[in-house]
Amino acid sequence: MLQEIVISGFGGQGVLSMGKILAYSGIMENKEVSWFPAYGPEQRGGTANVTVIISDRPISSPVVNRFDIAIVLNKPSLDKFENRVKPGGVLIYDGYAIDRKVQRKDIDVYRINAMDESMKMDNAKVFNMIILGGLLRISPMVELENVMKGLKESLPERHHKLLPMNEQAILRGMEIVEREQQAEVPEGITH
């Protein structure tokens, strides 16, 4: 198993921390993981992305150019990463921030209205957990139980009271993610 994932959005959307939770979850399953962030000087408002790799074998490069899964949370991220999804790979986007159609026909496309949902839940902070839920529904690379353990590891103890709310958001994300397009993959191509 090797999953090369990019998560990309605005700074402050929880892109880096979502990647961190995913990496921690991988460790809980004794997998190899790497987490490599790319962002500008600003913490909020600028674009940020993180590459997370989860693998059964030692990871060669933490920096990759082509991804099994791209999670894009704003339009600049879609523009940047659409063409870097491997054929037959997965693109997940948040419907709130992206108004254009995905051009690629050879990838699976999923839409998750996480922003709308987090507003309904009256808690913008669980936005990234809803997305994470969507990802885990599509590609159950780690068990939910281990995600919760990973979340516990990555959150300072003073925030542990927020764990049930985060779990609820993950479960909600699993429910609301929708497939928009199934990849048209030519015979013989695997990734």
Binding site: A23, P37, S60, P62
Partner: protein
């Protein structure tokens, strides 16, 4: 090694490893992309547990001179910074080399020249291994390629530095400093007692001792005859380090027709390129220098007879390539591929360069 596995950034690993190694003092000044070193030390507050001093100095110059002072007393002292900050430390490093003081300097490189960018780079290779400060000195240079090596090289850096009474540098970059990976931190060691330091560092300035002449730590010597003798002593020490302390890793070299040569983050990228190239039937291996000085000259010369060509991959305009060419001395063509200014090469980009510049 402890059994416990953590997930942390390379910069954080340096800080934890320093506390666990029993470092006596850290003196630094924040700069991206290495600020997590001092941030983690401040969070961990080791002055409450091991007694380690952690101090944010008023500048990089102050920090390196505090390292000089601590080292003169035989203490395990270190500093860290990123490229522009390390430029400021060069005078102090030269003085440490001249006064034969051990100490550890960490450079988490970013794009230059000048203030440059905050993104990763390896453009300080020349500065580090050719002498960024003045005078005929050498800096023991370790190039970590993983978060684990960030942790491990703290101990290794101090051991080599004290063994030879010479400053050592961990030459890292923004990729290795900022990325998170699994790491097994070293076991806690207690800090050395004053008596142990006195015994291990008979040269240190530890106050008056009636039964010996005073120890003097200085790089100044006004008599040229004596200064030349000092230099000869330094050079003899450098030859000894070159003979004994070369470290490198070879990956899939046995059947390789082509050899990639890369250190630090570039070596990790090359490891992915090897997977891609071998899937296409191109037999390529990697030689990764772990010590950049002393440089694995002999290992490269030995490989030169077995491959058709070499490609160095660096996050710079072509610096280590000069040392690789010197090592192989014309036996095989040596090309360079690099990205600059904070741009990170991709594994596919390296493969393309390999096909374009090297594979015949």
């Amino acid at each position: 090694m402890s059994e416990e596995i953590s997930l942390m950034k390379g910069n954080e690993a340096i800080a934890h490893a320093a506390i666990r190694f029993g470092v006596d003092g850290y003196f630094g000044y924040p700069i991206t992309p290495q600020s997590e070193v001092i941030e983690t030390l401040m969070e961990e507050a080791p002055w409450k547990t091991t007694g380690m001093v952690v101090l944010q100095a008023e500048s990089e110059l102050a920090a390196i001179n505090m390292v000089y002072g601590g080292a003169a007393c035989g203490k395990y002292v270190m500093t860290s910074s990123s490229s522009p900050g390390v430029s400021l430390k060069q005078e102090g490093i030269s003085y440490m080399a001249g006064a034969e003081l051990p100490g550890l300097i960490v450079n988490v490189q970013r794009g230059g020249p000048g203030l440059g960018t905050i993104q990763p780079s390896q453009a300080d290779y020349f500065q580090t291994v050719k002498g960024g400060g003045h005078g005929d000195y050498r800096l023991i240079t370790l190039a970590p390629a993983s978060v684990q090596e960030m942790a491990d090289f703290v101990a290794l850096g101090f051991e080599l530095s004290f063994k030879y009474r010479n400053p050592a540098m961990i030459l890292s970059d923004g990729v290795i400093g900022q990325m998170m990976e699994k790491v097994r931190l070293p076991e806690h060691r207690r800090r050395r007692t004053d008596a142990e330091i006195r015994e291990q560092c008979p040269w240190a300035t530890l106050g008056k001792t009636p039964d010996r002449k005073p120890n003097i730590i200085t790089s100044l010597e006004l008599d040229s005859e004596v200064m030349e003798k000092n230099n000869e002593r330094f050079q003899a020490k450098y030859r000894l380090i070159e003979a004994n302390e070369v470290r490198y890793e070879e990956v899939q070299c046995d059947d390789a027709d082509y050899l990639l040569v890369a250190f630090g983050s570039a070596a990790r990228i090359c490891m992915k390129t090897i997977e891609l190239a071998r899937a296409e039937g191109i037999r390529v291996g990697l030689l990764r220098p772990i010590t950049l000085w002393p440089f694995p000259t002999k290992a490269l010369a030995a490989r030169a007879g077995k491959v058709k060509a070499m490609l160095t991959v660096e996050l710079n305009a072509g610096q280590m390539v000069e040392d690789v060419r010197l090592a192989v001395n014309g036996a095989v063509p040596v090309q360079h591929y690099g990205r600059m200014g904070g741009i990170i090469p991709t594994p596919e980009g390296v493969l393309e360069a390999l096909k374009e510049k090297v594979v015949r």
